[in-house]
Point group: D2
Chain length 322, copies 4
């Protein structure tokens, strides 16, 4: 089993230096053109933003549902993965989402990821297709079936809804599998996350990553970082910079920028609000995949007003009033 | 928009006669061989059982998650659909499951279903991939996007978990779409179902189908029938026979056979327990798709003991004790 | 431990005859006067209706939350219990609600019930006050603590929300306690109820009672009856009459009267809609206890229109149009 | 309407100085003697600990369910309130829990609190007794009914389970009532809390308080503090001290002490684990009220081992090994 390195693609020394920094794993949103095919040009622009401006230490390709990969055929999904890896162009490691109800398809995607030089794969703890929660034995059998066929480290991805609601004991059991080296937790339950950072990350079983609203709390407790889409990732970058510089007051002030953005528009869904924000800051990514709708004009104005209070303000167009 | 006929494939008169009977829509389980490919031979045996012995008025191909279609690639799924339609061989109409997060893939599957002579398509009310419940507008846009491109009637399939938890008002709104002619409800909430049978089926918007434990209550309230996998469907057949014959005491006694089977093993999942029951009654369907496990020897014995108290008893092997 | 008799207060023969009938346990609503004290006059009128017109086989005093007993002080609650028992005046047995987080208060209420000649007590499976579900051991210890101090049979009352969400295994374990002789289940989950009727009522551990929408299904599966407030109880009476007379088509047609009433107004709460219905049929019970509001004029009109389609139609005022 | 002051009982200047500190509202646990009456002696010892050693800026009497007040009769509850206020003896302000399904009883308790010189009252957003969530109008009517009859500021207490699950918009609407000056939120959902701190506390509508696992995150986002039982409150005191001293690394290290304690024993319930911890550190509070059980010997050992890694270590008995 290879060890996962985040933000490291050169010598061991450089890698270790980079590894001192918390991880910022960025999940680029998927721009669709009018024919609902992946818009490679827009993806290129976004990936450059993600690496150069957000300081991603890793990019995840087709890994989280906000990336709208569930709409894609397996072939389209592979094209998206290939494009992402090519556009990242070794600037940072790429982790490839291989989630699929069938472990065989997950293995096929893992082999594809290996062939492209991916650093790791990300795998959603799956729903039991025919209702009821999967048992710990089910979950372990699934992860082991995939680990048996790939050398790549696996990120256990926890996202109840599209995936299973995995209990604390089951999460710990999965984290102890040698193949599981990283965990991406989507919940905002700080009691759960506090406990798991201690019992998993600080205990040395796997690195624990959370999400936007949890970033500073995660870092302070000893967690490893967060995974998120842009442009939240640019705010996150500044939070991490401030935290690493031990400027904790600035870190807290920056964390506060995640209090309203994107939460205030979450009833619209994370993909529509993050696409709207990217469009506003000049990194065009088009509309959400149908049937989900873009934000309305009024919602866009309100979102822009909030973004003007964040580190993203400079990227917004100068208004007439200004 | 074509009108959906269930259990009718000949003259109008015959069709109307058939339509007097409540519908029994049967969802054959998917037998996998050792290579985890669909085992066509086992599928043929099962479909004959479903039509000849269970009296299915319609067969649904790759429509419900218990059919384990989510593991299949799109090509494998099409093969399963084609096999099912060929093996049914016009003895009853076939409804084809076209559920997919992308409306475009659902349309592609609907076109495929049309080309094979399917009578209808079944479409799961989808989860919003990026969390939070879809709005009524999202749901209607999704169903209309598919209806725009197929003449086949659509069954609205409600299965919270794999699909969205659709509220009563949203279910009624979807039922009023001209394209939605049938509803398959997986919940066992009799207050919800009672109300929706009245507001949807008796109101003429769409025919309401439920599931095993709900069958007699559904028929008595004026609902249209139920969808279920075998061999529950054989018990259901006798319930419907008794109900049509107005032998309500027998209908109730038969309905009682669904009190413990399959509920007592639902923590193992519906696919494993129904596959176990089919294997026990001599209709071999193999094991659940990994990582889900077959019932243990002890569980098989307990299941067999319960099945001996049902109409399926005659199909069980004669034991040494007998 | 005394055995619970329902609908029996005379000779053994009469009692046994009565016991052949399914049980209809009626929970009178609590009328409040302008000072928010119990209005004894209105209660008397309602209890006469419940016994004479609804054919209650048992009355429950301050037992379910729809009776709004949670607003009352312990003294007021005792007054309501005493009034109820006096107004029933031995026409049918009375079961007394003794639910309280403290087993000591429950025991005090049970002693009070004994002193007034109550036939049984009803006890809500309690929430754990400080969050998380009670364990099976917690639940058993609580019921045993009360059973230790009273000879009265206990009804296990299951109502998740105000009370705990008790799993199927825990419900069966409680049903096996000698003190638990009756179960009142508030869920409308027919899969759960079907299984528990078989594993509890038909297995001889305790009699299983459900609620309005579940009544006919309960009777057909071999359950013992239902508990409900008026005037649903009058509809229930006719369902039971038809069922006992083996007129199952009429029973089903009557059961259908519970499809929209009260479900269509449940967002307003069960107490407001049942109070509105009683007020409409000439059994005045006043308004819900604040802050909960009465139905609006428009809602009253819609409710009246639905009630005109039920057995309650004759009790409604003749309209100008008629 | 009086303005709520926390940690202030003298001159305005002193008060303002104190108010610069985040609030630590401590909820003493209720010690019961063998007769299950409140043990005043043990309560005195605990309140001294809470004020002198934990630095409580306010004490809450019979306010949260972990204080086991729900078991008490109204008279016993008043006795507990009176004892608490007398034992605090003006060293810090006391807030009195007045939660009751009936607004009239809540008002009676508020008047009692006034008569004893309480600084504020705490009121649980109530469940609708007869199922379904209360509407915003229901919640506002309830709070206004109580505010109409007391001059004391009201703390809106949010604790889904015993109380209602109040949505973000409904929480904001309640926070805007002039009577609501403080909010105690029991959830550990950092996305929810981040947003509400901004939209309620920083917006000037009410001060936002959370709980143990959320304390440092709350302070950093600009929230007002936390409410909790001892001995968590002693850890909290040090977190607040470090935060006020801008020693954020120490604050984070201390916050980490809440990662396993009490979360690892929450399946036993918060009252049993906190009582166990108090007993271990030499502040005896007896056992949980039945039927809830004390921690087992093995659980006590594991708890003690964890407590030895916290600021509470010095209070633990010296072991043979040490």
């Amino acid at each position: 089993m290879a060890r996962l390195s985040i933000g490291a693609n050169e010598s061991r020394d450089e890698r270790d230096k980079v590894m001192e920094r918390p991880g910022l794993i960025v999940a680029p949103l998927t721009p669709f053109n009018e024919g609902l095919e992946v818009d490679e040009h827009a993806l290129r622009r976004q990936i450059d933003y993600v690496i150069q401006d957000c300081g991603a230490t890793m990019v995840v390709a087709a890994g989280v549902e906000t990336q709208e990969y569930t709409y894609l055929s397996l072939e389209q999904r592979k094209v998206l993965i290939r494009h992402t890896i090519e556009l990242v162009d070794r600037r940072v490691p790429v982790m490839v989402g291989v989630s699929h109800p069938s472990f065989k398809t997950a293995v096929e995607l893992a082999h594809f990821a290996e062939s492209l030089g991916a650093a790791a794969v990300q795998l959603l703890a799956p729903l039991r297709p025919f209702a009821g929660p999967p048992t710990q034995a089910d979950l372990i059998a699934y992860f082991e079936a995939i680990a048996r066929d790939t050398e790549l480290p696996i990120t256990l991805y926890l996202n109840p809804g599209p995936g299973a609601d995995v209990s604390i004991p089951d999460t710990i059991a999965l984290a102890k599998l040698p193949c599981v080296q990283l965990i991406k937790e989507s919940s905002r339950d700080l009691a759960r996350v506090s406990r798991l950072i201690v019992e998993i990350d600080r205990a040395g079983h796997a690195r624990y990553f959370t999400t936007m609203q949890m970033l500073l709390a995660t870092l302070q407790l000893g967690g490893s970082g967060a995974t998120m889409p842009p442009p939240g990732s640019e705010i996150a970058r500044y939070i991490i910079d401030a935290f690493v510089a031990k400027d904790y007051e600035r870190a807290a002030a920056l964390q506060l920028q995640f209090a309203l953005f994107p939460s205030k528009w979450m009833h619209r869904g994370l993909a529509p609000v993050m696409k709207a924000a990217l469009n506003l800051i000049g990194v065009p990514v088009g509309e959400p995949y149908p049937p989900y709708a873009s934000l309305s004009g009024e919602e866009m104005q309100a979102l822009e007003a909030i973004l003007r209070t964040t580190v993203l303000a400079d990227r917004l167009p100068i208004t007439a009033a200004a």
